[in-house]
């Protein structure tokens, strides 16, 4: 996998993919996209990096253990689902905070957004964890 094209491509592709993923996440409620696709695309960015520059580099870029990411993402989703019960409403009732931003219109942020954010991190973590584990196992096998 030590191709120069891959490396050069990755250098440019990676930030693009990450920005695209955030765009998908944020816009998902109103246009095609959402936490899943966002998370997957972000995951793809790290996968590319791992393929191009090696596992250690990708791990360093990610900073946290993918498993922690998975746990936190799931936790965030679950907590945003639980949030409404604190207000005495049924489980998972959307709670919205709406602002009117002049010149842009209505900005609504609600628990479903945080739920989607959780999905994003969960999917990102899952993708990284599986691919990293596989690459790691492959490397270990290569050494022995």
């Amino acid at each position: 996998m030590n191709s120069v094209i891959l490396r050069t491509g990755t250098v440019y592709l990676r930030p693009l993919l990450l920005i695209f993923s955030v765009f998908l996440l944020l816009g998902g409620h109103n246009q095609p996209g959402g936490g899943f696709t966002g998370g997957l695309v972000a995951g793809l960015a790290f996968v590319l990096e791992a393929l191009a520059f090696g596992l250690d580099q990708a791990r360093r870029t990610l900073r946290v253990h993918p498993l922690t990411l998975v746990g936190c993402g799931l936790l965030l989703s679950a907590m945003s689902a639980f949030f409404s019960t604190l207000l005495g409403k049924p489980f998972m009732t959307g709670t919205w905070w709406v602002w009117h931003v002049p010149g842009w219109g209505e900005l609504a942020v609600g628990t479903p957004f945080f739920f989607d954010l959780g999905v994003y991190f969960d999917v990102l973590g899952v993708t990284c964890l599986i691919i990293f584990s596989l690459l790691n196992a492959g490397e270990a096998e290569g050494k022995t």
């Binding site: 409620h29 109103n30 959402g34 489980f91 959307g94 899952v126 964890l129």
Partner: protein, 766 residues
């Protein structure tokens, strides 16, 4: 009070292992006070005669105890002999570390037996019936370190519990016919004579009773069960458990009178059992098998009398049950004393013990007289009344009489073997120094044999009232007397004794052959072993046939099963399918645009390529193409979210496959052509089923759906314009919560799997 009595016995049993070491030497005496107290309560009628305790009323299962008639008789027997056996066990297990466990099992058994005979509800009766099977299993296998004890326990359990299931089926059917589960009400219930189920009920119950009471062809387990410690044999096989079947037949006799084969069947089974038992008994030399086979014979006689079915016969049976319990329990206990004190069980090596063991000799003689049927004993009274009845029996009388006389003769011979032979004649050397046992052991048997004589002397006082109460129709009960004068039954008695004498003489003359081969001659036991063996082999073969370990055959079977179930049901709807197809071919084909045709064609080719690929990379690529085509379809039909997801996931999947199977060799053709052809045929059939199912489903399309609500409210209520996304995170958000859990756990699992690689230290993180 009745429930309480049974309960106390159970509780004592459970507490026995704890109590025994704390009570010391007094324990057996104190323990035996419990059944004795209940006996006293029963005899004085302080303990009431009815007691109910609701349990599972919705199933008709109530603990309903009723101490009347036959139940009362049996309750008296069980508590009385139970007290004796408890006391005796104290001596028998003196100093044995397992004594606590023994008393536990013994009391549990006693309680179950008492519950059985007192139950007036069929299901409660069944509960206790099974409990006696289980507890007797534990008692018979008490010396589990001996293989023959284990085998005998298992055999008795399987035979009696197997019969128990037959009984259960019979009782459930009976409850179905009579609309009650109350035994008393059942017997009184009006059953239409032509009820087609009644003969089945009778047959099923007869099987249950025959297994429990060791009737032919189930007789073999009882003599084998003699490996149990002697107190258990005395209790189980003389007076209680084996009589449960007799008890049941006795109680249900009125129900089945209308069935033409019922009486003859009982007489045949009973008579055959009586003869077999008698024949086998006189061929034995070892004390307990000798007594066991004679017990089989006695049980046969009882069943035979019940089969005769007249009130007199039933009365005679009741008298015989009482008399038999008294002498047989005592003799078993005597056998136990002989075994315990001399270490010898073979009567050929016992002799002249009367000087060393005078009390035992007296006990044995008294009981032996009763068993042989010498005047002034309970055995004599019972025999007289039996002969008297059979002389006047309406059908098959003389045949039954012959059976009874022959059985009686063998009883006389057995009585001689057990109570005369070991104590008289020249003193034969024994391993241990023989002497009379302690009071705990001789007290009980002595009491029982004394009681046997007393009952025979004044039968009108001690035998008649109990036996009379048990006969279902008490209108005309023959009077019992110690002496009826010189009459035909007495002549028969004399003949019986004479025949017994002949048998003894013959036995004395000729040392009988090998007993084990005689045991085998009966065949039914071999049948049992053959059946068990067959079951073993059949079940092993089933297990191995079903679980052969080939995953693809499992999948084939599963899919085949699914298709076999689906196909006929889909096919049922396939009739109007022609119309569907033609209408679609007409309108649908015209509507379809060229790029759609191209897509479909690409997909089908890609599917073909996936199946046909020669290399892993080829197959994976082809699969990827399939996925991408589906993504394009999603784009064309208004599902951009799906399309995006499908694109990304397809890409990831291809990477994953490439990464996880890099170590494998390229594809090989592993299956022969015919297997591939078979699978292909099957797969195509399955595909056709799914196609037809899809077409049928298309035809049954909805007219309205919940989607309209989502479209309407997505933006107003959920602040989102992308309805699919709003459904995913809000309307049906909990689906998504489950879905990301699946992902998280999958990743966790993959991580855990890959972490423990061979040749790597565990716990290293990637």
């Amino acid at each position: 009070m009745l429930s309480l009595s049974v309960g106390i016995i159970f509780i004592t049993g459970l507490a026995a292992p704890y109590l025994l070491p704390r009570l010391g030497r007094a324990a057996p005496w104190l323990f035996s006070l419990i059944p004795l107290g209940i006996l006293a309560g029963l005899l004085t009628h302080i303990i009431g005669s009815v007691s109910t305790f609701p349990w599972v009323e919705s199933l008709g299962l109530t603990i309903l105890f009723r101490a009347e008639g036959l139940s009362y008789l049996f309750a008296v027997l069980i508590t009385g002999i139970g007290a004796v056996v408890t006391l005796y066990s104290g001596g028998y297990f003196h100093g044995d570390s397992r004594a606590g466990r023994w008393f536990c099992f013994l009391f549990l058994f006693m309680g179950s037996m008492l519950g059985l005979v007192l139950s007036d509800n069929v299901f409660s009766l069944f509960v206790f019936w099974e409990l006696t099977s289980i507890t007797s299993f534990l008692l018979i296998g008490f010396d589990h370190h001996r293989p023959e004890a284990r085998a005998a326990a298992l055999q008795s359990l399987l035979v009696t519990a197997g019969g128990g299931l037959s009984l259960l089926a019979g009782l459930v059917l009976l409850a179905l016919i009579t609309h009650t589960t109350d035994l008393g009400a059942m017997v009184a219930a009006e059953i239409p004579n032509d009820s087609p189920l009644l003969p089945w009920v009778a047959a099923l119950i007869l099987i249950g009773a025959a297994t429990k009471s060791a009737q032919i062809p189930f007789q073999f387990w009882l003599p084998n069960a003699m490996t149990a410690p002697t107190p258990a044999s005395a209790f189980l096989h003389s007076s209680t458990m084996v009589k449960a079947g007799v008890f049941l037949l006795f109680r249900l006799q009125p129900l089945f009178e209308s069935i033409s084969w019922w009486g003859p069947a009982l007489m045949l089974v009973g008579g055959l059992t009586a003869l077999t038992g008698a024949w086998m008994a006189v061929r034995q030399h070892v004390l307990k098998p000798l007594l066991a086979w004679s017990t089989v014979s006695s049980l046969g006689l009882m069943v035979m009398l019940i089969g005769a079915g007249t009130p007199e016969a039933l009365f005679a049976a009741a008298v015989f049950i009482l008399a038999h319990a008294l002498y047989k329990a005592a003799l078993f206990l005597v056998a136990g004393i002989l075994d315990h004190e001399t270490g010898e069980r073979d009567i050929r090596r016992l002799g002249g013990l009367r000087q060393d063991m005078p009390i035992t000799a007296i006990t044995a003689t008294l009981s032996g007289l009763s068993m042989a049927g010498i005047p002034l004993t309970a055995g004599f009274v019972a025999k007289e009344s039996m002969y008297e009845t059979l002389l006047h029996a309406p059908a098959y009388g003389w045949m039954l009489l012959v059976c009874a006389v022959l059985a009686g003769a063998s009883f006389a011979a057995v009585a001689w073997s057990v109570s005369v032979k070991p104590f008289h004649g020249s003193r034969l050397p024994t391993d241990r120094h023989a002497h009379d046992p302690g009071s705990t052991m001789f007290f009980g048997p002595l009491m029982l044999s004394g009681l046997g004589i007393a009952a025979g002397t004044v039968p009108s006082l001690l035998l008649e009232p109990h036996a009379a109460a048990s006969a279902p129709t008490a209108h005309h009960v023959p009077h019992l007397a110690a002496w009826h004068g010189f009459n035909l039954p007495l002549l028969l008695s004399a003949i019986t004794l004479a025949l017994g004498g002949v048998v003894i003489w013959l036995r004395h003359r000729k040392a009988a052959g090998d007993t084990s081969s005689a045991l085998n001659k009966l065949g039914t036991e071999r049948l049992y072993y053959r059946a068990m063996d067959l079951l073993d082999r059949f079940s092993t073969r089933t297990a191995n046939t079903v679980q052969h370990g080939l995953l693809r055959i499992y999948l084939f079977s599963v899919l085949l099963g699914a298709m076999a179930i689906l196909w006929p049901l889909v096919y049922r709807h396939a009739a109007p399918l022609d119309n569907l197809i033609t209408s679609w071919a007409a309108s649908g084909a015209a509507e379809t645009r060229w790029h759609e045709w191209a897509l479909l064609l690409t997909m089908i080719m890609a599917i073909g390529a996936t199946v046909h690929a020669r290399t892993r990379l080829g197959a994976v690529t082809a699969l990827g193409v399939v996925g991408y085509v589906i993504a394009v379809i999603f784009v064309l039909y208004g599902a951009p979210d799906l399309a995006m997801t499908q694109f990304v996931i397809e890409t990831l999947t291809v990477i994953l496959i490439a990464l996880s199977f890099s170590h494998l060799p390229p594809f090989r053709d592993l299956s022969p052509l015919w297997v591939r052809a078979r699978d292909l045929l099957f797969a195509v059939t399955g595909g056709v089923v799914m196609t037809v199912l899809t077409l049928v489903a298309l035809n049954a399309r909805k007219h309205e759906s919940v989607a309209a609500y989502y479209m309407e409210n997505s933006y107003n209520l959920a602040h989102g314009k992308n309805v699919v996304n709003v459904i995913l995170v809000d309307f049906r958000g909990i689906d998504t919560l489950g879905e990301i859990t699946v992902l998280a756990i999958a990743a966790l699992g993959a991580f855990a799997l890959l972490r423990t690689l061979p040749g790597r230290k565990r716990g290293e993180t990637p």
